[in-house]
């Protein structure tokens, strides 16, 4: 018995998994679904990718237990399922989708919708919208975050980068800014019509606000050394800038242009994130000689340390009264380090790990705070991962190309 306990404990401790396999609960609250593909004339590659995206959407919602079999007709026994999702995907000049939801117990079609998107390459958004609608029809908590754009920057060569729009799975990608060094994209409004980014193409880094629908852009600020927009709250933004060569966090009212310096430590202060409704912020600083997560009121001077573990905690995000951060848990500063993502309350309590293997960085909350995005690296491969905070389900999608520099969604 003792050996069995030790074995089980060891298996748990060294299991090579993230949160998804460690915790399986609430199975009964999820709807069991089978998926039947009725598409005609779609290439096997696209068809397969479509099905994978559909499965991922259902899984990360936390509300469905999807059968992974790619059924092409109703020949199988579906009596153990609650619902059948039947779809017909077609590609002509545009991408079209018909989705039907069939209740197995009554064998009745309870929902049917048609979708169309002019650009074929955007077909992943058809899937996301359809799953979001099915989820809403069955009265589950909203998963509308899956319909949102991800925006990220990545280096392409020395002093060269590009800013890219994608869906959350990164199956849809579109370069929107290329040429030169343009970094740190950050959505400027909830509807994702405008974004902030920093141009490093002149002597002085300059922050612009770009309308992605018409290409117009306005200059927001410039600062010698560095300039990054870290967070947005209406017309106010938190930026890291260095007018005197000293990187500090400022709040800028983009309407009035008024700048308010929020930090004055002589070391490094970066990555300000509004927290607790916007009266306070968390940020990364290094008063102890390494990067760590701190918190301060926007209107006061006292600073509190939030994290008391890890060798280097240099990335964080906040939503409401929750924070996520990445923590280096190995001594070496180099490539084989283990970085894990942790979730905690905004006062630093109730800390729990969300990942357990590899290098996990850039944790970012979804727009509703229900899901955390992160970039995972293991060996020579990397992926973008999502953790549903309610049931700790995860999905990951492989990342190709250069390392992601910064992202927002």
């Amino acid at each position: 018995m003792r050996f069995l306990v030790i074995f089980i404990f060891s298996f748990y401790l060294f299991a090579d998994v993230d949160a998804t396999i460690r915790i399986e609960k609430d199975v009964e609250s999820r709807s069991r679904v089978a998926i039947i593909d009725g598409s005609v004339g779609v290439s096997p590659n696209i068809n397969s990718k479509f099905f994978e995206i559909l499965l991922a959407d259902l899984k990360i919602s936390g509300h469905f237990l999807a059968d992974k079999t790619h059924y092409m007709g109703r020949g199988a026994d579906f009596s153990s399922k609650d619902y059948i999702i039947k779809y017909k995907f077609s590609i002509e000049d545009s991408a079209s989708l018909n989705i039907q939801l069939i209740e197995v117990s009554s064998d009745k079609q309870i929902m049917s919708k048609n979708y169309n998107i002019p650009s074929f390459s955007k077909y992943p958004f058809l899937v996301h919208q359809a799953v979001s609608d099915i989820n809403q029809f069955l009265k589950y908590p909203s998963i509308s975050w899956i319909n949102r754009y991800l925006v990220f920057s990545r280096y392409t060569s020395k002093k060269q980068s590009e800013i890219i729009l994608s869906d959350y799975t990164m199956n849809y990608r579109k370069v929107i800014i290329s040429g030169g060094l343009n970094l740190f994209p950050k959505w400027a409004d909830k509807n994702q019509r405008t974004l902030y980014y920093t141009s490093y193409n002149s002597l002085i880094p300059t922050l612009y606000k770009l309308n992605i629908y018409n290409g117009s852009k306005i200059k927001i600020a410039s600062s010698e050394g560095m300039l990054v927009c870290s967070d947005v709250k209406g017309s106010k933004i938190l930026v890291t800038m260095a007018p005197n060569g000293q990187p500090d966090i400022y709040e800028i009212d983009t309407l009035s242009g008024v700048k308010n310096r929020l930090t004055s430590f002589s070391g490094i202060d970066v990555k300000g994130r509004y927290v607790d409704g916007g009266d306070s912020m968390i940020f990364i600083s290094n008063p102890l000689g390494y990067a760590n997560v701190y918190k301060k009121s926007l209107y006061g001077t006292s600073v509190s340390q939030l994290v008391y573990h890890g060798k280097n905690n240099n990335s964080c995000d906040a939503y409401g009264k929750s924070i996520v951060y990445s923590s280096r848990e190995t001594k070496s500063g180099y490539s084989k380090n283990r970085f894990n993502i942790y979730l905690a309350s905004s006062n630093g309590y109730n800390t729990k790990p969300l990942t357990s293997t590899g290098s996990n960085q850039l944790p970012t909350f979804s727009s509703d705070g229900s899901v955390v995005l992160y970039v995972k690296s293991r060996g020579n491969s990397s992926s973008i991962g999502y953790i549903n905070l309610k049931d700790l389900k995860t999905v990951q999608f492989p990342l190709s190309g250069r390392k992601i520099q910064s992202l927002d969604w």
Binding site: K122, K158, I176, S202
Partner: protein, 176 residues
């Protein structure tokens, strides 16, 4: 352009009138979704000789250097922004050259470890400590422009400690 937008708007209206579900990203139609901006380069404010592509480097440190104009790069320990004693001679040599120039740019760089904003701040702290040291050696503050490039400008991409060390540096470029 206006007629194109009008046609698209009309199309979107009729699509919206059918029984088809309007998918949000489809609203990003042809004329607006593919906003491709050509780098945002302000040619009137470009960085002279130091603002463009990396130069060919003659003055090497372990075979690589990122500076130009006879100036030498300064290297740093992992995660640090203090100047080590073995770099003092290089700074002294650089200061003598810089005093003869009217303007220089110093660029702070990092290795690939750490993340985005922190690396840019670390690069800037490295540039700032060099600027302060140059000023202490008599260089006019107004001659110096600083910028952090984070990890965007590696000189070496091999996965070795020696290679990473070559990317933790401050480069110098003469503007005029």
């Amino acid at each position: 352009m206006k007629s194109k937008i009008f046609i698209i708007a009309i199309s979107v209206f009729f699509i919206g009138c059918s029984d088809k579900k309007k998918v949000q990203p489809s609203n990003v139609t042809n004329s607006s979704e593919t906003v491709t901006i050509d780098g945002g380069v302000d040619s009137s404010n470009n960085g002279g000789s130091g603002g463009g592509n990396a130069a060919t480097y003659n003055n090497s440190y372990g075979g690589l250097d990122g500076s130009s104009g006879g100036l030498k790069s300064i290297y740093f320990e992992f995660g640090q922004y203090s100047i080590s004693s073995d770099m003092q001679e290089r700074i002294a040599q650089n200061s003598n050259i810089i005093k003869t120039k009217s303007k220089i740019k110093i660029e702070g760089n990092c290795d690939e470890f750490g993340t985005d904003e922190y690396n840019f701040a670390l690069g800037l702290k490295r540039a700032k400590v060099i600027k302060d040291d140059l000023m202490a050696k008599g260089v006019d503050e107004n001659k110096i422009v600083m910028i952090s490039l984070g990890e965007s400008t590696p000189l070496c991409r091999e996965t070795t400690d020696e290679c990473y060390a070559k990317n933790r540096r401050v480069d110098f470029h003469i503007i005029n």
